[in-house]
């Protein structure tokens, strides 16, 4: 009887201990994944050159002209991108200014004909080709006044491309 009581007490003690420390720990994992696409790269391939202009005579450069500005873009095949531009309203020669307006187009092949747009700070959506290529053409018109001061006028066009 005494031995049996000890056994019962032991069992009860074990059960009680199990109730107090009745924890079960489990672990599980899942993967986290991402596929990073190729960075977008922008290169200038041609400067926009209006050449000689004369006071009072507007001078355009069309998008298909050899003098048009050109950018080459590479990135992830078929990816959508946004084009934005910083363009001046005047070319400058010292303190003298030469008004200019802008045209642009983008194409998946290296040809001026394509999707025309007005380059500006606003985002213009475009799509890279199946090989990840995009070509952007920039033209415009300068409008010298009849009293335009002679000189060499310059400006900078900056194109930013983001996914």
């Amino acid at each position: 009887m005494y031995t049996a009581t000890k056994v019962a007490v032991l069992v009860l003690a074990l059960v009680a201990a199990g109730a107090v420390t009745g924890q079960a720990q489990n672990n599980a994992t899942v993967n986290v994944t991402a596929a990073v696409q190729q960075p977008v790269v922008v290169l200038k391939t041609n400067d926009l050159d209006f050449g000689l202009v004369f006071p009072g005579v507007n001078k355009p450069v069309t998008l298909g002209s050899a003098s048009a500005g050109r950018f080459s873009v590479t990135g992830a095949a078929g990816a959508g991108v946004n084009l934005s531009f910083a363009v001046p309203t005047n070319l400058t020669s010292g303190l003298n200014q030469l008004p200019v307006t802008w045209d642009a187009s983008w194409n998946q092949s290296n040809a001026a004909g394509g999707n025309n747009f007005a380059p500006s700070a606003a985002l213009t959506p475009a799509t890279l080709s199946g090989t990840g290529a995009l070509f952007v053409f920039v033209g415009g018109t300068v409008a010298p006044t009849v009293t335009q001061v002679a000189g060499s006028y310059t400006g900078t066009v900056t194109m930013t491309v983001t996914y």
């Binding site: 009887m1 031995t3 049996a4 009581t5 056994v7 019962a8 069992v11 009860l12 074990l14 059960v15 199990g18 009745g22 924890q23 079960a24 720990q25 489990n26 672990n27 599980a28 994992t29 899942v30 993967n31 986290v32 994944t33 991402a34 596929a35 990073v36 696409q37 190729q38 960075p39 977008v40 992830a76 990816a79 983001t162 996914y163």
Partner: protein, 151 residues
């Protein structure tokens, strides 16, 4: 003596089924950011039914459990390149009904004490991947571990 032994066997018979009741946690669905672009952060919501991470839990009805994530700071990609990960205070969710549409949000960066209603529940996880502008292209992976202590 006979009476004592009988009590002993009864106690053991009652104790065994309690101990044998199963608790478990299972990784069900990976956290998938899919295609991401250099310089462009990409987030997955914990309510995203396709891309959020999911763990399924099995527990005692009415029981409680502490949930603790081991979260990687980065994913690892080609040539050892790393892609930073960020988990916010609202990126994890516990659903006592295993419904992605009915979650209680919690911070996956700290332990969370969950209460079960039935014997099954789910935990969902979102997050943000922050590729740099010069992030190397390729596939990146990491491992998320959920440790559950059932009380």
């Amino acid at each position: 003596m006979r009476t004592s032994l009988t009590i002993c066997w009864l106690v053991m018979a009652l104790a065994v089924p309690v101990v044998a009741q199963q608790t478990s946690v299972t990784g069900v669905r990976p956290l998938v950011f899919g295609t991401v672009f250099p310089g462009v952060p990409s987030s997955v919501l914990r309510t995203d039914p396709l891309n959020s991470g999911q763990f399924d839990l099995k527990a005692h009805p009415g029981g409680t459990a502490s949930l603790t994530f081991l979260l990687p700071a980065v994913m690892t990609g080609p040539a050892g390149a790393t892609l930073p990960l960020v988990f916010g205070g609202n990126d994890a969710g516990f659903s006592a009904s295993q419904s992605i549409g009915s979650q209680v949000a919690f911070d996956p960066r700290t332990s969370y004490l969950a209460t079960f209603v039935g014997n099954r529940a789910s935990v969902f996880l979102g997050g943000t991947a922050n590729p740099s502008a010069g992030q190397r292209a390729g596939n990146y992976t990491g491992t998320i571990t959920l440790t559950v202590v059932f009380f």
